[in-house]
Point group: C2
Chain length 339, copies 2
């Protein structure tokens, strides 16, 4: 273990320690632990791989979401990691842990929804494992194909780049807050936010089109929220970033439920996470062209410049002319009490 | 869901249902759910993939095994699936769930041992995920490369084939029984059995050499024991099988601890599982040659013919001249009470 490893570890420290033990990239491995996907080399050049472990209680609540929602959402979250590289989804491997004697209805809804969501983006479920566990445990490992394109990494950002996002932010966080408040998911005002949380759309076609354009310098997906993910992209690129609060495309779904919940739509947009939109950087002059590329690839999906990459270090939020450091942190499951 | 799916599912029924929902092989997928690994096609021809989910309490007990043992064993079990196809280990992806605030020592021992075991067989840990979970959860997804060889499937067995195993059986089951009985793992008589359980050796080099020989018709690894795994190979080949009890190569490690535990060494050899030896079939005349191939590839590892493939259906055990159907079943985690 590295000599300076503390006795008890946060999530980031665990990742650093595992990366240290694994020995980083090199040899036939182009990109190891630390990007949205690993990028393979040698005979496997052109293949990217992502994996996600979801545990009932930490990552989803079957009191708040149907098995079909959980299946859709797990697959969408993983597809989003492939999208962030510009990869074409190819094969998926599902490990499924469940309490004793699951019902056929439960398995059919969960896995059926997962398979359908994969198939909608060209992915085939090709293998897996099923075991007994005290709670539902889902691990997906997805392989994506780059074809002749180079994967778009987090580390390619350049000083002065425009920082852009696809779509609208905060809907998923608002939907989760609605469900956690015990409100009726069928209420019309919240339907869009609840759908954003339970049935997110991974930006597979947009990610591929952005990679194909050859004009995107750095890309990742927004799984923990702009406030947690942009610092990761900026740091990977050796830069900082500044975000204009007024420019953040807040989802009307978040604005619609904020008053009823006493919630903060901008807070959800910056820190709610799980919108699974794409975050990318490019030359500022290319933004209009890339907006057109995305709109054509993904049925009118929008692109919004929310800031720029700076000398840094750190990411600042510019709100009504005032600069403040972004203090939102990604949710560290290892430090917080269980939800 | 298939119209005849029962309300509550066994492990085999869950696998069948998932395979049904996934839609089986076809297109670019050469072999889907049901063999030791999935066999990819299209641009990914030559790649095989396996994944395993291990949950503390169901699959390992940290009261009985050290974190380093658990790490070694999880990696070895997955490497064994690659070995069973004749693949060369390439890349591994680790998803690790742990309770809040794990120690650096725990992560270092568990992951360090896993990485070391992978590296010993040419595998690179290339990515993963870490999350909080109520108990330790380990998912490994491993990619193996076939090079120019065709993977050896379970389904290639031919009528009259010799049924062979590598190495000695029952050591792991005996070691587990010793630990579960609360006996001292350091006791000399049990050291070998305990090591067989905690530090199994996946037969990667032997599996590759057998595949390279071009003379093996069907192969799988012994993870649930001969009595559970041979019926799977036979059924996949559309055949039955007969096993000679006297021919089963019982591990001296199992024989050494049987008296002290009042255990049945042949029972461990047939049903104990987790020996991670290879089970394969070939023309009876080729057994001596393949024994030599394995001995050369894997430092004197033995090959023993234990029976033959028959018209079937079913697998019978021939013991002192009497035939009895093999009634051992693989441990079905979904039906049995938790260990």
């Amino acid at each position: 273990m590295p000599p300076d490893a503390p006795a008890h570890l946060s999530e980031e420290q665990i990742i650093s320690l595992v990366a240290y033990l694994a020995g980083g990239a090199g040899g036939d491995l182009a990109v190891g632990i630390g990007d949205d996907c690993a990028v393979l080399g040698g005979d496997q050049t052109g293949l990217v791989v992502t994996t996600d472990l979801l545990v009932q209680g930490s990552h989803f609540d079957l009191e708040l979401m149907s098995p079909a929602d959980v299946g859709h959402r797990s697959m969408a979250a993983n597809l989003s990691d492939l999208a962030a590289m510009g990869a074409r989804p190819a094969y998926g491997f599902l490990s499924l842990g469940m309490p004793a004697r699951p019902t056929a209805a439960f398995v059919s809804e969960l896995v059926g929804s997962m398979v359908a969501q994969g198939r909608a983006h060209g992915l085939k479920l090709a293998g897996g494992d099923t075991v007994k566990a005290p709670q539902v445990v889902i691990n997906l490992c997805l392989l994506g194909a780059m074809g002749n394109l180079a994967p778009v990494l987090r580390s390619g950002g350049r000083l002065g780049d425009a920082v852009c996002v696809t779509g609208l932010l905060g809907g998923s966080g608002a939907g989760l807050a609605w469900l956690q408040a015990g409100r009726d998911p069928a209420e019309a005002a919240a339907a869009e936010a609840v759908a954003a949380h339970c049935r997110p759309t991974p930006r597979v076609a947009a990610g591929r089109a952005l990679a194909e354009s050859g004009r995107v310098h750095a890309m990742m997906d927004l799984s923990d929220g702009l406030a947690a993910d942009l610092p990761r992209l900026a740091r990977a690129s050796g830069l900082g970033a500044a975000v204009e609060a007024e420019a953040v495309p807040i989802s009307p779904a978040a604005l619609a439920v904020a008053p009823a919940l006493g919630g903060d739509a901008l807070g959800w947009a910056l820190g709610g996470g799980e919108d699974f939109e794409l975050l990318f950087t490019c030359d500022p002059g290319e933004v209009p062209l890339l907006a057109q590329v995305v709109a054509e690839a993904a049925e009118g999906l929008t692109v919004t410049q929310v800031g720029r990459l700076t000398q840094g270090p750190g990411v600042t939020l510019i709100k009504q002319g005032e600069e403040e450091p972004i203090t939102y942190k990604g949710f560290d499951h290892f430090q917080e009490p269980a939800p």
